[in-house]
């Protein structure tokens, strides 16, 4: 993954272009040929990030689980069309996740994918986990509530997920320059809200 400097508010940011590791490229190549095992490794690698990102859209851990599975299923389906020239695999996954989340929000109803995994009974531990996840994302949501949906996503992708602008541009389907401008505007807006509240 690319490296982003910590001086997030500085205009003199340095962004190293995203590079996929050889191992990742190899896995993608194998998965494209139809290797489920290779895709399984990619699934494990990106699961947490994709789940968290989707949760930041839907604010419901149950729905986020289903949409995460749907994202990877779609990624498998469109994998033969994926090319590294179009961007990193990570950006490819985030883009699918974003589209699925937006679709879900549009429909405003929980479209269950019908993928059953493990015991379908929520154990006490699971329930607690979900509560914590929902609570945390609620805090994030509250903190970013003064921002518009796109601004919120830009902040999440750029500062929390630490993705380079080039990848974010591909995920949200906008030009890189526009993404940079919008992201810094979002940060300024956030700063103003915070200062006012202080």
């Amino acid at each position: 993954m690319g490296f982003v400097t910590n001086r997030l508010d500085s205009p003199l940011y340095i962004v190293q272009l995203p590079n996929m590791s050889d191992e990742e490229k190899k896995l993608i190549k194998e998965a494209k040929k139809g290797s489920e095992n290779a895709f399984g490794v990619l699934y494990t690698t990106f699961l947490s990030r994709i789940y968290r990102y989707i949760l930041s859209y839907v604010y419901d851990s149950h729905i986020a689980e289903d949409l995460t599975q749907e994202t990877f299923l779609k990624a498998w389906k469109y994998l033969p069309k994926y090319s590294t020239k179009k961007g990193t695999f990570q950006a490819f996954l985030y883009r699918i996740a974003r589209n699925i989340s937006i679709d879900h929000q549009r429909k405003r109803k929980h479209k269950v994918l019908n993928i059953e995994f493990g015991e379908n009974v929520t154990t006490g531990e699971d329930f607690e986990e979900k509560l914590i996840a929902d609570e945390k994302i609620k805090k994030v949501h509250e903190a970013l509530s003064g921002l518009k949906e796109l601004e919120r996503q830009l902040v999440i992708l750029r500062f929390f997920e630490e993705l380079p602008f080039a990848e974010i541009a591909k995920i949200v389907g906008k030009r890189e320059g526009a993404v940079r401008v919008k992201t810094f505007r979002a940060i300024k807006k956030l700063k103003d809200i915070y200062t006012k509240n202080e």
């Binding site: 997030l8 508010d9 699961l47 599975q69 990877f72 699971d126 994302i137």
Partner: protein
């Protein structure tokens, strides 16, 4: 503010854990779904291939069948008629059966007689061809063929004779041409009988 404020939210965000259930069983569930979809795609591909093959076969079969039928229905003077004659020659050479060509000439004569706007020239030509074919076949049978082939040929001629008789009843306009083919298809025994009769007449005279 920026870093502190954002770092705090980031910390909260990063602390969101993926549910254990998803981590442990998510991939297996997804893999099962992928395999199910793959099977579906596989069946679809085969169904499509089968459908394509069947369609292709039907198109080819239909075209060949239609082509054969068109050629078989072609009449003298038409574009496909030489193909028909070529086919007849091929059948005759490979099977030694000349009745196929004879059958075709008979059908052509009947069709030409039935036509509203008669093409007398063509009809005469086909009648001539028919007569020629019958004569040559008779000679061939006399020289080489077995008794069974002779019987078969005679039966065929008898059938044709009956058909021509039937056609003559309904068509008075092509009387001359039909007389010729009726003459050709007449049984040899009838000829003998008529000859005897004629000879007898001569004696009486």
């Amino acid at each position: 503010m920026n870093n502190k404020f954002l770092d705090k939210i980031k910390e909260e965000y990063k602390m969101i854990k993926t549910p254990e259930r998803l981590k442990a069983g998510g991939w297996y569930a997804l893999q099962a779904e992928i395999q199910q979809k793959r099977r579906g795609v596989f069946v679809n591909i085969w169904m499509n291939k089968l459908f394509l093959a069947t369609t292709l076969f039907l198109i080819i079969f239909g075209s060949v069948w239609g082509g054969i039928k068109t050629v078989a229905a072609s009449m003298p003077g038409t574009f496909l008629y030489p193909v028909k004659l070529f086919g007849e020659n091929l059948v005759e050479t490979t099977t030694g059966d000349a009745t196929h060509a004879l059958e075709n000439r008979k059908d052509e004569i009947i069709n030409l007689v039935d036509e509203k706007e008669k093409n007398e020239e063509v009809l005469e030509e086909v009648v001539r061809e028919y007569a020629k074919k019958v004569e040559s076949e008779k000679r061939e049978i006399e020289e080489h063929a077995k008794e069974s082939q002779k019987t078969k040929f005679e039966q065929k001629l008898e059938e044709h004779h009956e058909e021509f008789e039937e056609v003559r009843k309904n068509n008075s306009l092509s009387e001359d041409d039909l007389k010729k083919v009726l003459e050709v298809t007449k049984k040899d025994s009838d000829d003998d009988h008529e000859d005897d009769h004629n000879e007898g007449g001569d004696h009486e005279d």
